[in-house]
């Protein structure tokens, strides 16, 4: 066991830190110090500028191969980058559904041509990807989706409706599952498609989220033609292709410990500003310990991944369920404690209130925590279905 960083890793961290400090200041200054939320139309455009700054200096996708715009960084370096990213107070990545959810799937299932076509433009924030998992009657029960793909000459025709596509109204492309075998049921007969949102027959309608941002969209598809190379992985095998991505969404990549360590540091500051009385002290300490434990759990997971072969990805399997349970409940707890500390001021529409509302989505999205508990019980503990 060695819980220290190498001098190369320290250097990588230092480089990231100074780049972030300098460039964040520049980006904010360019918008008069008042950047809007990335989930509003105006803010999204501002955040795209930030994405392009990251890409320009090869910080957008540090763990990707250099050919696609990355640095070929190790998982350790990726963790360090994320920690610095959140510590610096850098904004949520509006490209995250592409780079964290779709990209791992493209790396695993894409043809060389698909990789070359998709990944560099994604890294550069030229193509902006949103996810098309849920449908009005297929939320937690993803396998009950009814959007369909009909085989035609040299391609497919897509029909149906997707919903809850985060930032869908601002994106250029959608990835999602469609039923390609009309006689199939549940998990069988689905295919994973990549769909440009400017294709004929696509309509996107944005709608409002709890935190006031217009961050969701419904996507309606009517007779939308896509060519054969819009299929990722094999036809009718979309479920297993998607599950790889879902594993990423639930797992390590989307929720790096850095985010919670940064929130905890802010929470401790808030507690001190309020006079540091005894009433909420245990909650604050508990928050710190839980965030710290998340960091340690992640270090153990990354060690296992790194030693299991692929240092770039690999799978953490059903363990990602307990991971998600922990961080999503931690996030709610940290923000509740903050609201408690703010007392009457907590009713104001400030960063903690926003953060609280966002945190509340944690136990819902990417597989509800109820589903995660069932997965953990069945796959990790071996309880009967």
């Amino acid at each position: 066991m060695d819980l220290t960083w190498s001098s190369e890793e320290d250097a990588f961290r230092a480089e990231a830190r100074s780049w972030l400090e300098e460039n964040l200041a520049a980006w904010r200054a360019a918008h008069g110090g008042a950047v809007a939320s990335g989930d509003t139309r105006e803010g999204f455009a501002q955040h795209l500028e930030w994405e392009r700054m990251l890409f320009e200096d090869r910080w957008a996708v540090v763990s990707w191969p250099e050919a696609y715009g990355g640095r070929d960084a190790s998982l350790w370096e990726w963790l360090l980058f994320e920690e610095e990213y959140y510590r610096a107070g850098a904004p949520p990545r509006v490209t995250q559904n592409g780079i964290f959810l779709l990209a791992p799937t493209v790396f695993e299932f894409g043809t060389p041509a698909q990789r070359d076509r998709i990944l560099p433009r994604m890294a550069a924030a030229e193509d902006l990807w949103c996810q098309g998992w849920s449908e009005p009657n297929a939320g937690s029960d993803l396998a009950s989706l009814t959007s369909r793909a009909t085989r035609v000459d040299a391609g497919w025709v897509l029909d149906g409706q997707k919903t809850w596509t985060t930032r869908g109204a601002f994106c250029t492309h959608l990835f999602g599952l469609f039923r390609s075998d009309p006689g199939s049921e549940r998990h069988r007969g689905l295919t994973y498609f990549l769909v440009p949102l400017d294709a004929e027959g696509v309509t996107v309608r944005g709608f409002g989220r709890l935190d006031g941002d217009e961050g969701f969209a419904e996507v309606f598809l009517t007779d939308v033609f896509v060519p054969d190379d819009a299929v990722l992985g094999q036809v009718d095998q979309g479920w297993s292709v998607a599950m790889a991505t879902t594993g990423s969404e639930r797992g390590l990549t989307l929720r790096s410990p850095g985010r919670f360590l940064a929130t905890t540091a802010k929470l401790i500051d808030l507690w001190r500003e309020g006079g540091g009385g005894p009433a909420r002290r245990e909650q604050v300490i508990d928050g710190w310990m839980r965030a710290e434990a998340y960091q340690l759990f992640t270090l153990a997971t990354v060690t296992a991944l790194a030693e299991g072969g692929s240092a770039k990805g690999g799978s953490i399997g059903a363990e990602s369920s307990i991971n998600k349970l922990w961080w999503s409940e931690l996030d709610v707890a940290l923000h509740r404690t903050a609201l408690d500390l703010l007392g009457p001021e907590s009713v104001l529409d400030g960063p903690w209130a926003r953060g609280h509302q966002f945190a509340l989505s944690g136990p819902i999205y990417a597989g509800t925590n109820e589903i995660q508990r069932t997965i953990a019980a069945e796959r990790l503990l071996g309880l009967p279905r």
Binding site: S140, G208, L210, V332, L339, D340, G343, L360, R373
Partner: protein, 325 residues
Amino acid sequence: MRFAFTEDQLFFRDAVRDLLDKECGPDVVRGAWPAGPAGAGARSPAARVEAVWSRLADMGALAVALPAVGDGLGLGPLDWVLLAEETGYAALPHPFVETACVAAPLGVAAGRVATDLAGAVVPFAAGADTFLLRRGGELVTVAAAEAQVSPVAAVDGALAAARVQAGTTGGRVVAANEDVERAFDRGVLGTAAQLVGLSQRMLDLTVAYVRERRQFGVPVGSFQAVKHRLADALVHLSFARPAVHRAAWSITHDRPERGRDTSMAKAMASDAAREVGAAALQCHGAIGYTVEYDLHLYLKRSWALAAAWGDAGWHRDRVGHAIGV
């Protein structure tokens, strides 16, 4: 010993409930939100929002506690606590508690009242006619036009909150000393009752949703995890409610335990609203997270009221002092 309301009290409660059910649906609450994506969804025009207040006045619901001269009925908290619960259930976008529960017993009948007894962020300040403000050990009323009102953006868009400043002179002194604390306790009680009503609304909405919504071929409400979470929400609500009703009795009879009982009511109602609200959101899933669905109207009001008039921690502390802990 009789822990129950009178038929008259229940009858008045039912009348207010019917009125609000017809006249103060979610579209009316949303009508009180500023226009924009955060208030998206079916909205009633401003006139309908205003009409609810007039109708409540017409039926006498605002004058229950006004001294028994003119329109006043001169009644006490036991007579209005259930009405407060109903206004909570409806997320009424008007200062019922401030006007009818806090100010009226002081003889203040000057339109809509907002007050800084609730805290430095004053709910419903934007549309208030009169402010009831702390000054030293006294409460004074100040006409809205004579106060500096600085609106603030609250999470609950219908809260119309502001910070309010008035000079150190002027206005009418309406309470002093112990009566200030009595006024505060009435506000705490009314708010606790609204939180109980809000919790009931969130639970009702959720029960209706999970009975209909199907996933995995069955109603979501048939899953044990959903049942148990909502049963726990019901338990929280069911034990907060009698605490609120008891506080109404303690205030009505100006019992020595008045402050303790009122604070217990607010602490328990705030905690219950948090539990019920979290359960409601979780059991809805993604739709609960959208502003076009109604849940957020009640959820955000419950957050606002849980933090106003002293939050759970503040009131728990007050209970502790009262019981020697």
